[in-house]
């Protein structure tokens, strides 16, 4: 009896400690980034301590004006929003088709789609680049955006979700006179809102923090996105860590805020992937 009460008392403490530890491990790089962003360039490697002697808030305006970050942020936003919109359209329609429309070879085609998830992103960078180059789309929005519009992960997510919707709802709509497109738009899609929200969130974050593809697909300063701009601190200004970290904090902020308000969709997204 006593042992059980002791276990009951220590267990939550243990759990909290474990979570706190994990939390620290996850947060440490971000905290380090924030702290570094307020240091002087020489202070970073001085080894005098973790915290800046006197926070250099001026790093922020200086970093953000060293390059046209306003433009970068706008580009990131355009890129991310367009990718989100595109992926919602392609993932919901394709996911619905894979979930509900009976067409020959459906299962095989779906497996083929899934198989592409096993191909590392880096491997397809070159074909994608050649593709947009052939179209003359290098350093344009359409070049940046077009090859990001389809996400197999998104299709998979939506298919899994559509499969969980009661079929009778769609049957009812069919008896009510709705054709396949109407059933999709008026019944299936509104009910899939939670999954669409999850998809949008993940797509937005993926696009926002995408470095490699925008680095390849764009050349001019006008077309750069935030991530590329941050990376550019390495070359343009040697390696200015505080500036880079200050720009990094600014770039992370929208995502962090988004996460605060949409945590449950993250969790749901991870759960959905487990549904077979």
């Amino acid at each position: 009896m006593r042992r059980r009460t002791r276990a009951a008392r220590t267990l939550p403490v243990l759990r909290a400690a474990l979570l706190l530890g994990a939390c620290l491990v996850m947060a440490a790089p971000f905290l380090w980034m924030a702290v570094t962003s307020l240091m002087g360039q020489l202070e970073v490697f001085s080894g005098r301590g973790i915290l800046p002697a006197a926070p250099l808030w001026s790093n922020y305006p200086e970093a953000l004006t060293a390059q046209p970050f306003g433009r970068y942020l706008l580009n990131s936003l355009v890129f991310s929003v367009a990718v989100v919109a595109g992926q919602i359209v392609t993932a919901t329609t394709a996911g619905y088709a894979f979930a509900r429309i009976d067409f020959p070879g459906r299962q095989k085609l779906f497996m083929l789609f899934l198989a592409t998830m096993m191909v590392p992103v880096v491997i397809v960078l070159i074909p994608r680049f050649l593709l947009i180059d052939a179209l003359g789309w290098i350093d344009t929005y359409q070049g940046l955006i077009s090859t990001e519009l389809v996400s197999v992960w998104g299709i998979f997510l939506m298919r899994q979700y559509f499969r969980t919707l009661p079929r009778e709802l769609e049957d009812a709509a069919r008896v009510d006179g709705a054709g396949p497109l109407r059933v999709f738009i008026s019944v299936a899609l509104p009910l899939a809102k939670p999954a669409v929200a999850t998809l949008a969130l993940f797509a937005f974050i993926d696009a926002w923090k995408n470095l490699l593809w925008p680095l390849l697909a764009t050349r001019s300063m006008e077309m750069r996105v935030v991530e590329v701009g941050i990376a550019a601190f390495h070359s343009t200004y040697e390696i200015n860590w505080p500036y880079q970290m200050a720009a990094g904090v600014v770039a992370v902020l929208p995502i962090a805020l988004l996460f605060l308000f949409t945590q449950r969709y993250f969790v749901r997204g991870i759960q959905l992937e487990g549904i077979r």
Partner: protein
């Protein structure tokens, strides 16, 4: 206002799912304005049959007509049918009003008329105060009425009900049953009602179609199905408590016999099953044993095993002939206790005889003579 009701005709309709035959060669004629109950155990194909009529499944063969029109190739929305689903299938993201009006909106009915018809339907079903709510905010009974309303609002030629009462509690189920019956009287629309509950089928249906393993075994009025079951399956499935059964075996003189029962059969049968409804057994204390003259009744003595007093009636479980327990339905005035010996008699014309394949044997079976097991 209400359009002319339409009949529904099925001719040799077949539906297979892979190697499973869900509906086998179904022929059925549902008259305009009729309330037909489709009844059978779960998995018998009754819901599939309904979905075939609705157009939600494509038949593998045969022809379906609604009114005079073959509808095999017509999508569900253009068949002039409305369906109430077992789960109600209300659109959870729409208000009650939007649920009711969805079918009209899809058809491009103008807004004023939609509003008017939704309101009229809501009034009939007492949903007036709920129009702005969503299905999740309604009780089961209210959801059921919305589902009914969604079907009614379109004034369809045929109503299809797929076990709409099975999710309701007992009291509400009875009330909704009455509501559907009065709705049928009021609208005069053709209705096809699928249920696994034979009481529901008999009480609602003007005619009843009994199904098993994809086949329609018998179609008739509730009385005909109950009084003159076409097969042993129908006899056993319809009626509660279930019909009493006794296996009979062939005799040297070409008849069949078992316990106190003995029948001449033509042609001779190797085996047969006798069935008697519980209310067709007359139970009396042994002292009142009437003097019986063949061929009016068969009789035997039995011991009371259990007595169920249900108020208006009494069910007496007996160790009758054969291995199974016999159940007799008696007036509550009969005073018997477990262990009591009783005398049981059966009128011959109330017995049913079924051949080895389960089909009914001829006209009322002719008894040869009666054995008394005294």
């Amino acid at each position: 206002m209400t359009p002319a009701p339409r009949g529904v005709t099925l001719r040799g309709v077949v539906k297979r799912f892979g190697s499973v035959t869900a509906v086998a060669d179904a022929d059925l004629e549902i008259r305009p304005g009729e309330l037909m109950a489709l009844v059978g155990p779960s998995g018998c194909g009754k819901s599939t049959l309904l979905r075939l009529i609705a157009g939600l499944e494509e038949p593998g063969g045969g022809e379906i007509l609604i009114g005079e029109r073959p509808v095999n190739d017509i999508p569900p929305g253009d068949r002039d049918v409305a369906m109430v689903f077992q789960s109600y299938a209300l659109y959870p993201h729409m208000t009650v009003a939007a649920n009711l009006g969805f079918g009209l909106r899809v058809r491009g009915t103008d807004r004023g008329e939609i509003e008017e018809r939704v309101e009229r339907t809501a009034r009939i079903l007492g949903l007036g105060d709920l129009l702005a709510r969503r299905p999740g905010q309604l009780s089961g009974g209210q959801q059921q009425r919305v589902a009914l309303g969604r079907a009614m609002v379109r004034d369809p030629g045929v109503f299809l009900f797929d076990e709409p009462l099975s999710n309701l509690d007992a009291g509400l189920r009875l009330r909704t049953r009455d509501q559907i019956a009065s709705l049928h009287q009021r609208l005069g629309t053709t209705m096809i009602f699928v249920t696994h509950d034979q009481t529901e089928a008999l009480s609602l249906g003007q005619r009843v179609a009994v199904m098993d393993r994809g086949e329609i075994l018998q179609v008739g009025t509730p009385d005909a199905v109950y009084r003159r079951p076409a097969s042993l399956f129908v006899a056993a499935f319809v009626g509660s408590p279930p019909i009493n059964r006794l296996g009979l075996s062939g005799t040297d003189d070409g008849g069949v016999a078992g316990g106190p029962f003995r029948f001449a059969t033509d042609p001779p049968l190797a085996a047969a099953t006798l069935a008697v409804r519980p209310e067709d057994l007359t139970v009396t204390p042994p002292s009142f044993r009437p003097d019986i003259t063949p061929p009016v009744r068969a009789d035997f003595t039995a011991t009371v095993l259990r007595v169920e007093a249900l108020g208006s009636e009494q069910r007496v479980h007996l160790d009758g002939p054969g291995s199974a327990t016999w159940i007799a339905r008696t007036p509550p005035s009969l005073r018997v206790d477990p262990g009591d010996p009783v005398h049981v008699s059966v009128a011959w014309e109330r017995t049913h005889l079924f051949g080895p394949d389960g089909s009914r044997v001829g006209a009322p079976p002719r008894p040869i003579h009666i054995l008394r097991d005294s």
